[in-house]
């Protein structure tokens, strides 16, 4: 349902883009006849509702349409890029979730001490910087001015498995990691502080549990529930944020594809990518809700 509304919006917005894909392709000197022929070819001369219907049913039936710019089916053009981007996202997520939980939990545990103040200062600075600044700084440090350890851009063929250029992956992943971790770590810290002040944590200490048990068994499970929601929002944000990072490191994923598609008014590609990003939003939020229910017995037992 949500996706349907989103699809409507995406379609409406892309249709409202100024300029005409046919014109963008053929250039300014194209004859009106050629333009009209191309428009008919793309189905752009039909009423909008029909266009939308064709597009929607096409997607539902697995036909994503044909890219205007490359004249290849969208699925063929986008498929490998989606895979590559998801791989990037996955590594960033797998890295950032435990990292932020550990940082946040430790900050809460050492509240108002050095680790806490330093980590909150660092995370505030990181959170305040846009990804491309972080990415640029990382590039300066690791690949250009300071050290030349890592490649500044990814040398990855479209369609090649993303892990074939591991070195090239490091900087994009690191940038994404630094973009997400601060937020989640701060939320985690807040949730953890609250839990550590709770009666049941005090009780756990008063019945002689050692600090490790108190932290891992009594405190953490109750703190990650609220953190899941923020993690989800941030991963979803990553799905959009990946565009800039991919541009920056020339990573052949959906981000660069989207940027190219917008430039050439390649409507089918734009529409489908937007739909995928929206899908990621919805999916991660769904997963977060499921995760919250799973770690909260009160919610879990209600299902039975």
């Amino acid at each position: 349902m949500t996706l349907f509304i989103v699809s409507l919006l995406i379609f409406a917005v892309t249709q409202a883009l100024p300029s005409d894909p046919a014109e963008a392709m053929l250039g300014r000197e194209a004859t009106p006849e050629a333009l009209a022929a191309l428009r008919a070819d793309f189905g752009l001369d039909k009423p909008i509702v029909v266009q939308y219907g064709n597009w929607l049913f096409g997607i539902l039936g697995g036909d994503l349409g044909t890219s205007y710019a490359t004249s290849t089916p969208v699925s063929e053009y986008i498929g490998p890029r989606v895979g590559a981007s998801f791989f990037l996202l996955l590594i960033a997520a797998v890295g950032s979730i435990p990292l932020s939980i550990v940082v946040g939990a430790n900050a809460a545990l050492r509240r108002d001490r050095k680790f806490d103040t330093t980590s909150s200062l660092v995370s505030l600075i990181l959170a305040a910087m846009p990804e491309f600044v972080v990415g640029t700084i990382l590039t300066i440090i690791f690949s250009t001015t300071v050290w030349q350890l890592l490649p500044a851009v990814t040398y990855l063929e479209v369609g090649a498995p993303p892990w074939s250029d591991l070195q090239g992956l490091i900087l994009p992943v690191l940038t994404l990691l630094l973009a997400v971790t601060p937020y989640v770590a701060r939320v985690m810290r807040a949730a953890m502080v609250e839990v550590l002040e709770s009666d049941y944590v005090e009780m756990a200490r008063l019945k002689g549990m050692d600090e490790r048990t108190v932290l891992w068994r009594h405190a953490l499970p109750n703190a990650v529930g609220p953190a899941f929601q923020v993690i989800a929002l941030n991963l979803a944000y990553l799905a959009g944020g990946v565009i800039i990072v991919e541009r920056l490191f020339n990573f052949p994923g959906i981000g660069s594809a989207l940027a190219d598609a917008v430039r050439s008014r390649d409507l089918p590609v734009i529409q489908f990518l937007a739909l995928i990003i929206a899908g990621v939003y919805i999916l991660t939020n769904l997963l977060a809700d499921i995760g919250t229910v799973l770690v909260t017995p009160r919610l879990r037992t209600r299902l039975k």
């Binding site: 049941y200 019945k207 002689g208 068994r217 009594h218 009160r298």
Partner: protein, 592 residues
């Protein structure tokens, strides 16, 4: 001697870390094995701080300044952190106030019990531990099957949760146990079971128990000895019978006088003023500012504990002078002249989303009289009061104000009807807007009514006077006030629209006894002076006798018994009422 003493606290002092001000000081207590010492005092008197210190624990921002605490032969304050961990739950255990928030919501109760045993290497093997858990569950009268142990805390009732807490505390056979208001928030019948279990376990296992509470009747019922705390000091201690029959410290005398008792119709008496927080406490006896016997000598240094006779000691220079403290009420109990009906309920049923929780309730609240609506949690008493106030959506039947039919919701009622019925809420902390001055909050209904600013101001001063607060309070914000003052403000706000009916929903349950007595006293005065009809909703049966003319007892959504409070409480006819009354602890009954 050290054999007999299960717990010995010697000259204990705890400070606020930031300021160095004392939270508690000069605490000396001894509890013999197998005995229960009741530690009483109002909120903020330092009871819990002392209790936690026995487990060698201080909350954030609090530190032990000096003193020693012996659990058996072990001095616990000087232990290193690993040794502290070992004694907690092993040698000395803790039963917290609120079982619902003290059991970890994410862990099964079986695991929470098991981990205590594991942490203290109790019972060599898993089998032995499992057997011990079953034994404990049986001792606290809970099911012992595995299915039950796999439950999460939220799948248990409040009473069951507290029994799990007790099982946990007794699991490793401690020699000292600290119980911090373990029955607050439980219904009387549940409380009775829990108290019985506590008494049984401490006697059987020779445990020295420190029982912290503000409820004198529970102490009279359960404890062997009592220590009374005020402003961080123990002001009087002795055996239960000594303290309750012959309280020597003026504070104790006021405390006893303010405690309502189910066994008698007594007019409870409050006391003005309040105890000061750490750092603002006066030099000398902290009670002196509120004490009518105080003289200059009281303000020089904290009085020494003097023997009053037997084992009773009191920290008052006049402890042995039998000077009367004016704790008797000057007011005559109201003579009964039947007023006109103000509010009538005729077969009211109410529910939530289709489930009927109140069945066929008919009640009459008369002018100038107080009807108490009592019942255990979930009995439907609050739903009834909300229906009267027009705050409840789903109800049928008829509610009449002065013979006129009322619309179901407050929004549909005429303004005059809305003003005529005013509601005072349970929680004085949540019902006042923290961003408005008290005066603004009170004046709100007047402004809505279109009164001029100066006119409203005068009315605000009038109602503040009625609730015995100085006019300067109009400019204060709620967080500058104590709980009792806030509740007075809430009443003042209700009075400002000159109501005929006042619905009071558990208005004293968040307050200390002295404050409760003062509020009850105030409500009685207002009723007499203004001819208010009052519906007093409460679970506190003893209080009913001191405030209400009539009482209606509710159970499972129905009225079980209704009549004059003296006859219903003094000579209940219904079995439910009888069981409720016999389950309620009483000082007088315990002293007989």
């Amino acid at each position: 001697m050290s054999n007999a003493a299960g717990l010995r606290i010697v000259d204990l002092r705890l400070n606020v870390v930031a300021t160095g001000n004392d939270i508690v000081d000069e605490i000396n207590l001894t509890i013999e094995k197998g005995r229960v010492l009741g530690l009483v005092g109002e909120s903020g008197s330092g009871k819990t701080t002392v209790g936690l210190a026995v487990l060698s624990h201080a909350r954030r921002g609090v530190e032990v300044a000096h003193g020693q605490i012996f659990c058996g032969d072990t001095e616990v304050l000087g232990l290193d952190s690993e040794a502290k961990r070992k004694i907690r739950g092993g040698l000395v255990s803790y039963v917290p106030q609120d079982p619902a928030s003290s059991l970890n919501p994410a862990l099964r109760i079986g695991l929470q019990l098991l981990e205590v045993l594991e942490a203290h290497n109790f019972g060599g093997s898993d089998e032995a531990r499992k057997a011990r858990i079953k034994e404990m569950m049986a001792e606290v009268l809970l099911p012992t099957d595995d299915e039950y142990l796999e439950r999460y805390p939220h799948q248990l009732s409040g009473g069951q949760q507290q029994r799990v807490g007790l099982a946990m505390a007794f699991a490793c056979r401690p020699s000292v146990i600290v119980l911090d208001e373990p029955t607050t928030g439980l219904d009387v019948s549940t409380q009775e079971h829990v108290l019985k279990t506590i008494r049984q376990l401490t006697r059987d296992h020779g445990v020295a128990a420190l029982y912290i509470t503000h409820d004198l009747a529970v102490i009279a019922d359960l404890a062997d000895d009592v220590a009374v705390m005020y402003s961080g000091r123990v002001v009087e201690q002795g055996e239960v019978s000594e303290i309750f029959k012959n309280p020597a410290h003026p504070y104790t005398r006021h405390l006893v006088a303010a405690a309502p008792d189910i066994a008698s119709k007594k007019s409870i008496v409050g006391l003005a003023g309040r105890a000061q927080s750490p750092g603002k406490r006066p030099v000398g006896c902290a009670f002196a500012p509120r004490c009518e016997l105080a003289e200059d000598a009281c303000r020089v240094e904290f009085p020494k504990m003097v023997s009053v006779g037997g084992r009773q000691t009191a920290a008052c220079i006049k402890a042995n002078q039998k000077v009367a403290v004016s704790v008797a009420s000057s007011k005559a109990m109201s003579t009964r002249t039947r007023g006109e009906p103000a509010v009538e309920l005729v077969s009211v049923s109410a529910g939530y989303s289709g489930n009927t929780v109140v069945h066929d309730v008919s009640l009459t609240v008369r002018k100038g009289e107080c009807l108490a609506l009592v019942g255990e949690s979930g009995s439907g008493k609050t739903t009834v009061s909300r229906a009267i106030g027009g705050l409840h959506r789903e109800w049928t039947g008829s509610i009449r104000l002065n013979g006129r039919e009322l619309k179901p919701m407050a929004r549909q009622r005429a303004i005059a009807d809305r003003l005529a019925i005013q509601y005072v809420f349970q929680n004085p902390y949540g019902s006042l807007n923290p961003r408005r001055t008290v005066g603004d909050s009170i004046a709100r209904p007047l402004v809505v009514d279109g009164k001029s600013k100066s006119g409203a101001r005068q009315v605000v001063l009038d109602v503040l006077d009625k609730v015995s607060l100085p006019g300067s309070y109009a400019n204060k914000y709620p967080d500058q006030l104590s709980g009792g003052e806030r509740q007075r403000i809430a009443i003042a706000r209700a009075l400002v629209s000159e109501p005929e009916v006042l619905v009071c929903d558990e208005v004293t349950s968040a307050l200390d006894v002295l404050v409760q007595a003062a509020i009850v006293d105030l409500l009685g005065d207002l009723r007499r002076q203004l001819g208010l009809a009052m519906l007093f909703v409460t679970h506190n049966l003893p209080l009913v006798r001191s405030i209400a003319d009539e009482v209606a007892v509710m159970s499972e959504g129905r009225i079980v018994e209704v009549g004059p409070s003296e006859s219903v409480i003094g000579n209940p006819q219904q079995q439910y009422t009888q069981s409720l009354i016999s389950a309620t602890p009483s000082i007088e009954r315990s002293m007989r």
